[in-house]
């Protein structure tokens, strides 16, 4: 395919993905907005007022970056996982397989569809958080870079999950049993400096900790980890997951007999 044709194919996949999550907004955009509003109201306002300051900020200000990141991670992941698995389930993925669209374009299109939903939800949650507290941006470029790369990374993870999934349970296992614990234990609600040294070291093995803290650094200017490490880890995951996703796609894992 020529560059122009590849661009049209990519744009078609991306447009279809955006149209999909916009069409079913009560399932895709509304729930995270409601959930995060409850988090802000209960953890931030009610409980947070008794917790006091954390790393020099009110508890509400402290948890906002983590909650934004949590919604970006969950939505980027689940958008690609559910969309690509549905395409497999309905066999509509065959529309792409019979076409000359290169596999890397298929992968990129789906991933950026997930990123679009992740960012859409992230922006909604950010706006909602402003009803509860005020935020000042410490480093705009870093904030955008981290949220973008994290979204890409989890969208890639969702794609690999969808390729392996054989039923709808397989699509929900990873978010429920892996992603949620990693996110909750990834410094969304607390600074790891509160933990005993052993658990601080264990927490350092959790990749989500790096993303949440790097994002928090971009907004508040405080972090439990070195932001450079966070960037290195996210980029390494992106390269690894892209390679795995593309290799599986080329082999036809889960989509070709």
């Amino acid at each position: 395919m020529s560059t122009g044709e590849i661009w049209i194919a990519f744009y078609t996949i991306l447009r279809r993905e955006i149209r999909r999550f916009m069409r079913i907004w009560p399932q895709t955009l509304l729930p995270p907005a409601i959930t995060m509003t409850l988090y802000f109201a209960i953890f931030g306002n009610l409980i947070g007022s008794r917790i006091g300051e954390m790393d020099g900020f009110s508890y509400m200000q402290f948890i906002v970056p983590g909650l934004i990141m949590m919604s970006v991670i969950t939505n980027s992941y689940s958008n690609v996982a559910s969309s690509f698995f549905s395409a497999k389930f309905q066999h509509s993925v065959q529309e792409l397989l019979v076409s000359p669209t290169p596999n890397w374009v298929v992968l990129t299109g789906y991933v950026l569809g997930g990123v679009a939903r992740g960012l859409c939800v992230g922006a909604t949650v950010t706006v909602l958080s402003l009803f509860f507290t005020h935020l000042h941006l410490h480093n705009l470029f870093l904030t955008i870079l981290i949220v973008l790369l994290t979204s890409v990374m989890f969208a890639l993870g969702g794609f690999v999950n969808a390729l392996f999934a054989r039923n709808f349970d397989d699509v929900s296992i990873v978010p429920t049993f892996i992603l949620t614990p990693l996110t909750y234990l990834g410094g969304v609600f607390y600074s790891i400096s509160l933990l005993p040294e052993l658990w601080q070291n264990v927490s350092m093995l959790n990749p989500v900790l790096y993303m949440v803290n790097a994002f928090r650094y971009g907004i508040l200017g405080v972090s439990d980890i070195d932001v450079t490490w966070a960037l290195v880890i996210i980029c390494a995951f992106i390269i690894g997951l892209f390679y795995i996703g593309l290799t599986l796609l080329n082999r036809g894992r889960g989509i070709r007999s």
Binding site: I6, A9, T12, S92, L96, L97, V98, T101, R256, S257
Partner: protein
């Protein structure tokens, strides 16, 4: 001139050890109306799946308009339009979006895709349903939607896998008229069907596949010539009591107002007409007892077992 499809020693063994194709050779000429027939599980869908990239082959070569799928699969895929047996579109998309989105996967600009979508949806009587979610369509409409989608990039080869399954007679006829028109305009048609009278009426060449092997690959005309006998049913204006004609296997059926006769190679129906004329019985209509191709098909499949 390159063949539309050229398959050499194509083999497919699935992960569970089942050998679906045992090294088939097949050629389809450009502009042909070709039937690929076989019983369920014979290897038809596997062959088609390999052609359009839904199944990975184990070995062998496939060329589409001279393009080797191992060397330039994307290039080869441009020549193919596929109408699969199962509905495989996004049921939540509108009819128009299903077709236009498919065009996008071939790199066709939106304005051209929309023009073509209008053309083919009108041609297939679906234009008034363009804004309907595809899951709301009837079975026949869904089938036509898949034909419109397969044509959106104007392929040189159109593969139809059981396209008329579950489609009513009127719709089936109009569908075939349209497919014949496409063939006359130069599109190569490859058809799999269980309705053998369709294959006999429409196709010029035919391949019969059984247990992963090609058991016959010839023209429909040549294949029909191999029939050793044909059985006809002649309806008479009045009932007769008995019937006997030397050299012919002839008998009365029903209340005696119809005659069934087997005509062997070298015999002809004129003898039968003359005999019935002598009996003062006039033939008012005549038909084949069964589809000729069907008889051969059953014979070939049995013979290959």
């Amino acid at each position: 001139m390159a063949y539309a499809i050229e398959i050499k020693d194509l083999k497919k063994r699935y992960g569970n050890g089942f050998e679906a194709l045992k090294g088939i050779d097949l050629t389809v000429e450009q502009g042909d109306f070709f039937a690929l027939l076989g019983p369920n599980g014979a290897g038809k869908s596997t062959t088609i799946g390999i052609l359009c990239s839904l199944v990975n082959k184990s070995s062998g070569s496939v060329n589409i308009f001279g393009v080797d799928i191992d060397k330039d699969f994307a290039g080869a895929k441009r020549y193919l339009g596929v109408v699969p047996q199962e509905f495989n579109f996004n049921v939540f998309e509108t009819v128009f979006n299903v077709v236009v989105t498919q065009a996008g996967f071939y790199g066709i600009p939106t304005h051209l895709a929309e023009e073509r979508a209008e053309k083919y949806l009108k041609k297939l009587d679906l234009w008034d349903k363009k804004d309907t979610q595809s899951r709301m369509l009837s079975g026949g409409m869904k089938r036509r939607l898949m034909i419109a989608r397969a044509l959106i990039h104007e392929p040189k080869v159109l593969i139809l896998d059981e396209p008329t399954a579950g489609v009513d007679i009127e719709l089936r006829r109009s569908m075939w008229e349209f497919i014949k028109e496409l063939n006359e305009q130069g599109t190569t048609i490859i058809l799999t069907t269980h309705y053998l009278e369709e294959a006999e009426q429409l196709c010029r060449n035919i391949a019969i596949i059984n247990s992963g092997e090609i058991v016959e690959n010839t023209s429909v005309k040549a294949l029909l010539k191999t029939l050793s006998s044909e059985t006809f049913v002649l309806d008479l204006d009045e009932s007769i009591d008995q019937v006997a004609l030397e050299g012919y296997d002839i008998k009365l059926i029903g209340d005696g107002s119809s005659v069934e006769v087997a005509v062997m190679k070298g015999q002809n129906l004129n003898d039968v007409f003359a005999y019935l004329n002598q009996q003062n019985a006039k033939v008012v209509s005549m038909r084949n007892k069964s589809n000729r191709l069907e008889e051969l098909f059953v014979k070939l499949i049995k013979g290959s077992k």
